[in-house]
Subunit: 350 residues, 2 copies
Amino acid sequence: MDLTERKRRILRAIIESYIQSAEPVGSKAIAQAIGMEVSSATIRNEMADLESMGLLEKPHTSAGRIPSPKGYRLYVNELMEEHKLSLQETERINQALRLKMQELDRVLDQAGRVVSQLTNYPAFALSSGMDRVTIRRFDLLMVERNAFIIVVMTDSNIVRNRLIRLPSDLTEAQLQMLNTLLNTTFTGLTLEEITPELMRVAQHAAGDAYGLISLVVSFAIEVLESLERRTVHTSGLAHLLELPEYRSLDRAQPLLSYLSEDADPARFPVPKDDPMKILIGPENVADALKDTSVVVASYDIGDGMRGVIGVVGPTRMDYAKITARLSYLAEGLSRLFGQGELPDGRNDHK
Amino acid sequence: MDLTERKRRILRAIIESYIQSAEPVGSKAIAQAIGMEVSSATIRNEMADLESMGLLEKPHTSAGRIPSPKGYRLYVNELMEEHKLSLQETERINQALRLKMQELDRVLDQAGRVVSQLTNYPAFALSSGMDRVTIRRFDLLMVERNAFIIVVMTDSNIVRNRLIRLPSDLTEAQLQMLNTLLNTTFTGLTLEEITPELMRVAQHAAGDAYGLISLVVSFAIEVLESLERRTVHTSGLAHLLELPEYRSLDRAQPLLSYLSEDADPARFPVPKDDPMKILIGPENVADALKDTSVVVASYDIGDGMRGVIGVVGPTRMDYAKITARLSYLAEGLSRLFGQGELPDGRNDHK
DNA sequence: ATTAGCACTCAGAGAGTATGAGTGCTAAAA
DNA sequence: TTTTAGCACTCATACTCTCTGAGTGCTAAT
């Protein structure tokens, strides 16, 4: 059986109605939506066909039809019209980019927050853990006789610092020596390359100052570790409860706990080749997401790394609107990072 | 009518049973809990008295009794026994302090996360915005000809940094000059004291390099602003839904939206004089919290500043357990910060 | 002061019924 | 061959009614 133009129109009308109302759609309503060119009986026949093609489903005999995941897929691939962002929408996103990014101190993670506010769905943001990060340079700044600041900068242009206080005093000369030693011995090394042997070598070279060396190096290790670690941030989980499909706690609970707090980054889908990906219901690998859809977009954060933001919702989510907003935001983020100037001080990528 | 010893025992038994089960407590159950010294009829009489004293309530005629807020208050003040933390519990908290604090990069905010995991209730953490922060020193570190790192340190020993890239090149001498100018002109100033006039003066002094000055100063302003701003972080909101009183979404929804995301710090109670405060039901100012209880504790973050962590839950929350855990954690945090060594690099307080 | 006994209350569960939106099928009309 | 009107059928939902049992307050006896 082939998908005539009329069938497509009907399918699209059904999906768009269902996206709006979350209620099964009946033949009569569609007849009207289509424009009364045919009667509801005809629509019924068509709907029966669409069902046998696997594009529609019936919650029970005497309800209307709802789209199947396959139906949504067809819709997303072929039927869906690009949602044009209104001036207000783009303005709102731009504002979020400008304002929020200045306010929030961990841009990467907090991008998720913006997404969730923008879409009114729960959102997540992944920081893509980097491989093989190394320290490019160390700087030690004397503050008082017994305190100094460590500043380390990685090869991916991330800068981190820490204030260290010491029980004993310290001369400018010592610090200078330390600085040289660090920059000659510990730059350009990955986490694995900082071995105990290396530390022993450093111990020989440094003598008394070895205690200081190990303080600085363990800070460097912390920095490298934190950068290699991938992290998830979820936000707007409460939005889930606003949706009719999650009014019942039994439905909401498992999804919430899947998403909440210390979620495992590996559980979240990431777009591979394309900048954006839509996963509908069972297309998701994770069991907890089998009844939900996920839209993910990635954005450029410089140095060839990509950040990921995504939205989670019921399969009937408004794909057109969400994808439009998400991709606009992702583009904005890419631009922001691509320019080489991060608004926040503690996360500097090129 | 006075509160005899027996009445107190009965009240306590009722409250502790209700805390456990969330079900109205009947006279028979209490007779048993007390030890069968008296019959249920006697308990009923006592309960009637307790009710007329405003310590108990009836959801309806033929249910058992539940404690009133006044009852909880009495319990908390006089009846409650100190909950002794078990070895496992203290160990768990210590571990959270050690481990989590190293992992998480924004200790202050993330303290809330630990609380929520520790108590299984939604939790919040406030960073107490500081007054009159000033920059104590600026450091500029040359990275490449067209890039340098700004490091600023505030009078409260917080260090922040940012990498700046420039379209044009820059000499070491220029940077040196800039450094001196910044450290003579812009240190020790509060946000309000950095006026346009001051900027004009700096413009005269700096000449061509003014563009750089304004870059650095606007970064400093950002830092000062971010420190003066009080922020809330809530976590573990999903725990709310595990509680029987919030199984119905209509109850949970308003509280969730009150707590969620961009909540206003001013809405959250803070302990004033004592290190810990319990607010029971209507004792809360905020309408949305009228049916809930809040336990808040503050901890020392150095430089005379205090952080606040708190737990939100139904009025029947297990005050004994929660307060014990919260205060132990708060003490641990105070110790951690008090030592002057913060585990994370980007938030250095004394 | 305590207790046994008893009538009374009332939320919640379960059963039965009505409602109506929506379907599939058939047979006639286009 | 396609479309349509008509009709019997389905079934989730809402509603009503009744029953049950935990729990109460009161009274009279201990």
